[in-house]
Amino acid sequence: MIDLHRSGKEAVVIENLHKQFDDLKVLKGVSLHANEGDVLSIIGASGSGKSTLLRCINLLEMPTSGDLRVGGEQIEFTEKRGVRVPKHMRQVEKMRSRLGMVFQNFNLWAHMTVLQNVMEVPVHVLKVPKAEARERAEAVLERVGLSDKRDQYPAYLSGGQQQRAAIARALAIEPRVMLFDEPTSALDPELVGEVLKVIQDLANEGRTMILVTHEMKFARDVSNQVLFLHKGLVEEEGTPQQVFYETKSERCKAFVSSIH
């Protein structure tokens, strides 16, 4: 068996995760293993549960059952009036503050400038001194090519610029893992490229990333591990080569055929 991972240190591990909304079973026992330096893409049709899976990693969705380890630390759960909740909210908040999430709809804070958006979490969650946070924020804005927009409010930026600002916001926390939830799905086609380029650069420098995407070619080129989800189960997984070209499952074959 080929070792999929780029290092030996685990970053995010999910074991046998189930997620149910009322009567709807969205995830039916999914496992995922990303080590440091890995770039893992989750692909699949709409409704396959891929976004839900990503959102379970930082507990924006609470898994109905299953294990979650982030950076080797087991997240503990307990029951409260029959509902599963985190045992220590502090533990979850601490874990979240090291996961940089990038959303489909950017979700920048509209009452803050780009620079303030990027400084917000370092200053008010990680308690980094303001001057230092500012320096770091300016550096990451430079990286995503938005230095000249730092004093603008998000409403005055294009979609591509907003998403790059959102990536800068996630980078500023010096994340252990970056989570991308369909980062280009809300963008006009001509703006997709600039965002993918930034993500590609991050992957090249060895950042750990888990991304949900519809961009098949991009997933193939950027990741070292691909997960194909179908109806809440992992239908196919492996290297991009295995998933895209040596596909075993018929469904996956049909799904990825678009890039051939």
Binding site: L60, R96, N107, H111, V125, A155
Partner: protein
Amino acid sequence: MRWDWIPTYWPDFVDGLIITLQLLSMSIIIGMFFAIPIGLVQVTGPRWLGRIAQGFCTVVRGTPLLIQLWLLYYGLGSLFPSMPWIRESWMWPYLRDAFPYALLAFSISVAGYEGEVMRGAFKSVPKGELEAARSFGMSRFTILRRIWLPRAFQNVLPTLAGEFVLTLKATPLAATITVFDVYGVGTMVRQETYRIYEPLLFIAGIYIVLTGIIVLFFRWLENRVPRAV
């Protein structure tokens, strides 16, 4: 028209203006202090608390301020003297005065009306922005302080400006329970000078100026915060 009474009553008008401004600003501060949680619990729950807050808003908004004012002043105000422990307490000198009752009534009114405004304001903040805050490990309180509340205020600043102008123009009701605000002074002047219209025009002018100040202040405030799109 005769305006020669103005110099005579000028000091009284200044006193009345101070009372009006005190009543307005203090009731806005106290009222908003309660309006924020009243609006918030209707959005976040717990449900039973939201129901109580909703009921409070309905009652306050559904009854005339004049009646609330009179109920407090003539109801509560006439109960207190019959309670020895209140008559002997440090509060008594204040409770003998009409102003605290006016302040209480206006604060309740602001809490009720603006509680409803704040409910809408909290609801209007996009869920995604709150979710982003959560995803970065912000605690519930930090989210409220740094994201939710400022965003909510940003959305309703123009509404609040209008609401506070309405509150200003309701303050003359306090004169009906012997609070000597600008309107109260005007009434006194009318009785003492037998001039009917001039004092009325004069205090109308004062209210227009005050309204202008509130409007300009909020316009300045609105320009300082970015427009949300």
